[in-house]
């Protein structure tokens, strides 16, 4: 029987943790881009764009992330499209986070007073100019704390991808447990790793919230 030192466990978790970080980052960036597109569709003057965006948001917020992951990983395979686990994980998390980010940001855009739209309209700005120069810069300020807060959800959300065999932190925990028979130690360390990733972000989010509330340049 091979024996494992604590350092063996930590080292292997650290290696797997890179994938958790990488997956979180790519999800956050890509989800942000898709979320921004959904936001624009959601605020479009064209009805079918608005309805489409609404449907998207309702579908991805109204079903479990796990289902979405299964559908992309196994569902696409049914059509002969073999998707590697890392890609399925990235796609599912991106689509899922886009629906939440779009809705968070829409709330922030809605919080901008109507007068800002009217004032920029009468200065002859078009819709995109209004968004780009007047509305989004103001919405961004109030969007930062909830967006960073959602980042925490994304990090924890990556744990779900272990189920399709993507070896990130949680999956590595399972694998190491199977080899070492030390579930408590292993998962306690896994938990600490997640905490180490999420806690600074939550703190940062709280700090931002205070900052933007205090120095209130609207």
């Amino acid at each position: 029987m091979i024996s494992f030192s604590l350092w063996d466990i930590v080292r292997n978790l650290l290696l797997a943790g890179r994938w958790t970080v990488l997956l979180s980052l790519s999800t956050f960036v890509l989800g942000g881009v898709v979320g921004m597109l959904i936001l624009f569709a959601r605020m479009s003057k064209r009805n079918f764009m608005r309805q489409g965006a609404k449907l998207y948001i309702e579908v991805f917020q109204g079903t479990p992330l796990l289902m979405q992951l299964f559908l992309i990983f196994f569902g696409l395979a049914l059509f002969g499209l073999e998707v590697p686990a890392w890609l399925a994980a990235a796609i599912a998390l991106t689509l899922w986070s886009a629906s939440f980010l779009a809705e968070i940001w829409r709330g922030c855009v809605d919080a901008i007073p109507r007068g800002q739209w009217e004032a920029s309209s009468v200065l002859a700005m078009g819709h995109f100019q209004q968004m780009r120069h007047i509305i989004l810069p103001q919405a961004l300020r109030i969007a930062i704390p909830p967006t960073v807060g959602f980042g925490v959800q994304v990090i924890k959300g990556t744990a779900v991808t272990s189920i399709i065999g993507f070896v990130e932190l949680s999956k590595a925990g399972t694998v190491i447990t199977n080899a070492t028979f030390m579930p408590f130690t292993v998962f306690a360390i896994v938990g600490l790793f997640y905490f180490a990733l999420c806690w600074p972000l939550s703190k940062y989010s709280q700090f931002l919230e205070r900052k933007f509330n205090a120095a209130h340049r609207h």
């Binding site: 007068g115 004032a119 309209s121 200065l123 002859a124 340049r217 609207h218």
Partner: protein, 242 residues
């Protein structure tokens, strides 16, 4: 050929008809006050002129640009006519200078230096040249409203719509804004203002429009309307405000 032509304009919100066939033409350089009780449709009329509200019937044109529904038609119209609001609506995330510069730059494609020079000139005109780098929340209401006027002027409109622009101001700040409006009138700017400042309307305006229940009820030179109101509604309205 009038600068602003409003022809048989009707507008309803659902079953509620707020404008019941408005006809009004305004010549270039004219200063017109629109008075009336709240709910008489005066603000709605003003907001129809630059397409902030849609109309159900009739037509509106400013210097040959007709009110339409497409973004291009609206843009063409809004380049001819500026507007100032009761609540100022300055852009809080931009400095005073940037507030004034932004639209000429992104809408008209004016260069930054040119926009800056124009902004400085217009801020000077409203007496706020030294506030160029301040932010809106560092200014008093009266100063903010004057910046809003400078911002509208920087688009070089042919007419300005003023929607109760002194109603949100503390009494001691009203005069500084009215002084600016008066100087605009003297410089020949075409002004259409919804106002409760009767004395100002009387002194500065060429014509006064009294609106009542969605119609132009009485119209004429201020002396005539204020000293010899013909209709009982106007008599009552003037009695109320004096």
């Amino acid at each position: 050929m009038p600068l602003i032509a409003i022809e048989d304009v009707k507008k309803s919100y659902g079953d509620n008809e707020v404008l019941k066939g408005i006809r009004l033409s305004v010549d270039a350089g004219e200063v017109i006050a629109i008075i009336g009780k709240s709910g008489s449709g005066k603000s709605t009329l003003l907001r129809c002129i630059n397409g902030l509200e849609t109309i159900n019937e009739g037509s509106i044109s400013v210097a040959g640009a007709y009110l339409g529904t497409s973004e291009l038609e609206l843009k063409t119209l809004r380049l001819k006519v500026g507007m100032i609001f009761q609540q100022f609506n300055l852009f809080p995330h931009l400095s005073v200078g940037r507030n004034v510069m932004i639209s000429p730059m992104i809408v008209k494609g004016v260069s930054e230096e040119e926009a800056r020079a124009l902004a400085k000139k217009n801020l000077e005109r409203v007496g706020l040249a030294e506030k160029f780098d301040s932010f809106p929340d560092q200014l008093s209401g009266g100063q903010q409203q004057r910046v809003a006027i400078a911002r509208a002027l920087s688009m070089q409109p042919q007419a300005l719509l003023c929607d109760e622009i002194t109603s949100a101001l503390d009494p001691e700040l009203v005069n500084e804004v009215l002084a600016v409006v008066r100087s605009l009138a003297e410089d020949g700017m075409t002004l259409l203002m919804v106002t409760h400042e009767m004395r100002f309307a009387r002194e500065v305006c060429d014509r006064v429009v009294f609106m009542h229940q969605g119609k132009v009820h009485e119209i004429g030179p201020p002396e005539e309307l204020f000293t010899h109101p013909k209709t009982p509604e106007l008599q009552q309205f003037i009695g109320m405000t004096h």
